[in-house]
């Protein structure tokens, strides 16, 4: 094109060439701002947490020692302290809170799945216009403040709350049930808060299900429950995994729910981390707890990324 055989082609070609230059190099003006921002303020902070988890506590600001130091004769000293990680094994509160958090998150995820699956299935089978209304109804609490929704739940389950008043009035119970500050309250809180996270990805897969496939199975004499087990359920596995991870991962790290609804024995990692930071001010140990927690979550996060991208491609 640059030979310019006729003048007209060259005139129209010039902006194109400038465009190609922009396409080749100018794209970095678009890529770099978000890339650098997320790199500096999201990814690099993890490196800082890792670094500080190997430091020792010190009475200064910031309250930890430098792991890298340069001596007067220009030798670089790297002092790694594994004490914080050893400490996680010696004090059993950390191990117990890890196990407790994972168990709580696991069972809450199962219950969310049991409630959320039929909901998503029912929404997927309504007409398109009903679907968008129902989805909006599910999404609305998804965006509403966690803190306020947990607080609202307290109004239902506390001793003088709506649930106990209703049950007493109906004569089903004669003493108010004690739900607040128990394990049951933590479960109720997690299920109530995270149910939309389960329903939305499930709906996304169930909506794409090919109904002719189900009809074919029915025509061939398969009873509805067989069709469900043989066709619907296997095809909705990506949605089940994406939804479950979307509930499980944040539920493991939940802080607000066990603090407001749970009792003193509902020690989840989120609460331990918070206390270590704001109560004990032991930042190196808190960083070690966070790093160990993150290592634990790498598997589930990878699983989620894998199935959610798969779902996008489908």
């Amino acid at each position: 094109m640059s030979n310019g055989i006729d003048a007209g082609a060259e005139v129209t070609a010039r902006p194109r060439e400038r465009g190609e230059w922009l396409m080749r190099h100018g794209k970095w003006f678009i890529i770099l701002p978000p890339m650098l921002y997320l790199l500096v303020f999201f990814l690099i902070p993890f490196a800082f947490a890792l670094k500080i988890s190997f430091a020792d506590t010190a009475l200064r600001m910031p309250p930890f020692t430098d792991i890298l130091s340069i001596s007067p004769d220009w030798h670089i000293h790297l002092t790694l302290s594994l004490g914080n990680f050893q400490y996680l094994f010696t004090d059993e509160v950390y191990g117990l809170s890890y196990i407790y958090s994972i168990r709580t998150a696991f069972f809450s995820t199962l219950i969310c799945l049991a409630v959320g699956y039929p909901m998503a299935y029912a929404i997927a089978r309504t007409s398109k216009s009903t679907q968008s209304v129902l989805l909006l109804i599910i999404i609305l609490p998804f965006w509403t403040s966690f803190l306020l929704r947990v607080y609202a739940l307290e109004g239902i389950i506390r001793e003088t709350g709506l649930l106990n008043s209703a049950l007493l009035w109906l004569g089903i119970i004669h003493q108010p049930l004690k739900i607040m500050h128990t394990t049951l309250a933590v479960y109720l809180g997690i299920i109530y808060s995270y149910l939309p996270f389960m329903v939305l990805p499930l709906f996304a897969t169930l909506e794409k299900l090919e109904y002719p496939l189900l009809e074919a199975a029915a025509d061939l004499g398969s009873p509805p429950w067989r069709t469900f087990l043989d066709v619907t359920l296997p095809l909705s596995v990506p949605g089940i995994i994406a939804g479950s991870m979307l509930v499980f991962i944040p539920a493991v790290g939940e802080f607000v729910i066990p603090t407001l609804l749970g009792g003193p024995d509902n020690l989840m990692i989120g609460r331990v981390l918070w206390d270590e930071f704001f109560g004990n001010r032991d930042w190196p140990v808190a960083s070690a707890v966070a790093v160990a927690f993150l290592v634990l979550l790498v598997g589930p996060i990878a699983l989620y990324q894998h199935y959610s991208t798969k779902q996008l491609e489908a």
């Binding site: 129209t12 902006p15 194109r16 922009l22 100018g26 678009i30 890529i31 701002p33 978000p34 890339m35 997320l38 303020f41 999201f42 690099i44 902070p45 800082f48 947490a49 500080i52 600001m61 910031p62 409630v115 959320g116 039929p118 909901m119 299935y121 029912a122 929404i123 089978r125 309504t126 968008s132 129902l134 599910i138 609490p141 965006w143 509403t144 403040s145 803190l147 306020l148 607080y151 609202a152 307290e154 109004g155 506390r158 149910l195 329903v199 109904y211 991962i249 944040p250 939940e254 607000v256 603090t259 990692i269 981390l273 918070w274 930071f277 960083s287 966070a290 927690f293 996060i301 989620y304």
Partner: protein
């Protein structure tokens, strides 16, 4: 769309939706309770709402949260849109996988981890660079990071489905690629930008955990003030405040949903016209 859902499915759906909404409705109901005892109904009253107007602590926190929300959503929409353009339009560039990962990770990362790691960064930065001081700046920076992820994902899906023929036509007529994008595609994705601005605003307004970590003395956002009060139990003025926030967020989400649906309908209409 197949046969109608069975009565059993419909009843589970209704119960599920009831579970999601009942606590919020009860909360709003109690916020109009004249009695200071939260368990006794003392008649209808708006006194708790009027009391909020005289509570300086809450008003200051609300103002701080709103200011942060505006800064955050504007910043996040700019960065998130750029990231979406990068991911949709440039199929190959160095670091594409990294950017994809950094956009998706904040959605699943437990807030408490994000909060702690960002605090550690800010402390080290302050130590070395003398900036940023903990408070408004650090909260805004931290919120922009996770809101950018939400904006990117919203805009990305809209941009991927946008018709490029107009943009190509503009470039054939001599516009540069930036000009052509601004003139043709930007108006098409504008509603998606507006709705992700609103969603970022609600996310920033709602955040407690990350704000608590990265904030400094003297800068308390609305959720931080509410949390410190809520720890002590249910109180009627918090009922009123919570109802107000839930309604504000609800309006934001409904408007955002409306904008998204309208563009979706417009797109289907355009597609039908194009086929004809």
């Amino acid at each position: 769309m197949g046969d109608r859902p069975s009565p059993l499915l419909i009843s589970i759906l209704c119960i599920g939706i009831a579970i999601l909404y009942l606590p919020i409705l009860v909360l709003i109901g109690y916020s109009f309770n004249a009695s200071a005892l939260v368990s006794v109904w003392g008649g209808f009253s708006t006194s708790w709402y009027r009391q909020l107007l005289h509570n300086d602590q809450i008003l200051d926190a609300a103002w701080l949260s709103l200011e942060i929300g505006v800064v955050v959503s504007t910043g996040a929409v700019i960065l998130g849109t750029l990231a979406a353009i990068a991911l949709v339009r440039f199929s190959r560039f160095r670091g594409r996988l990294l950017l994809t990962g950094m956009v998706n990770a904040p959605l699943v990362m437990p807030e408490i981890i994000t909060g702690i790691t960002q605090l550690l960064l800010f402390i080290s930065m302050l130590h070395v660079l003398g900036w940023p001081h903990r408070g408004f700046t650090t909260i805004a920076i931290a919120h922009i990071a996770f809101c950018t992820a939400y904006v990117t994902i919203t805009v990305q899906s809209r941009l991927a489905s946008a018709d490029r023929s107009l943009e190509e036509a503009a470039m054939d007529l001599g516009s540069g690629p930036v000009r052509a994008f601004l003139d043709t595609t930007l108006p098409i994705i504008m509603p998606a930008l507006a709705s992700s601005w609103l969603l970022s605003f609600t996310l920033s307004l709602d955040d407690l955990v990350i704000s608590s970590f990265v904030s400094g003395p003297g800068a308390s956002t609305l959720p931080m003030v509410i949390f410190s009060k809520v720890k002590l139990g249910v109180s009627p003025d918090i009922n009123a405040l919570a109802s107000l926030i839930i309604c504000l967020v609800g309006v934001c989400v409904l408007v955002a949903g409306y904008l998204m649906r309208r563009t979706e309908r417009q797109r289907l209409l355009d597609a039908q016209l194009a086929e004809r």
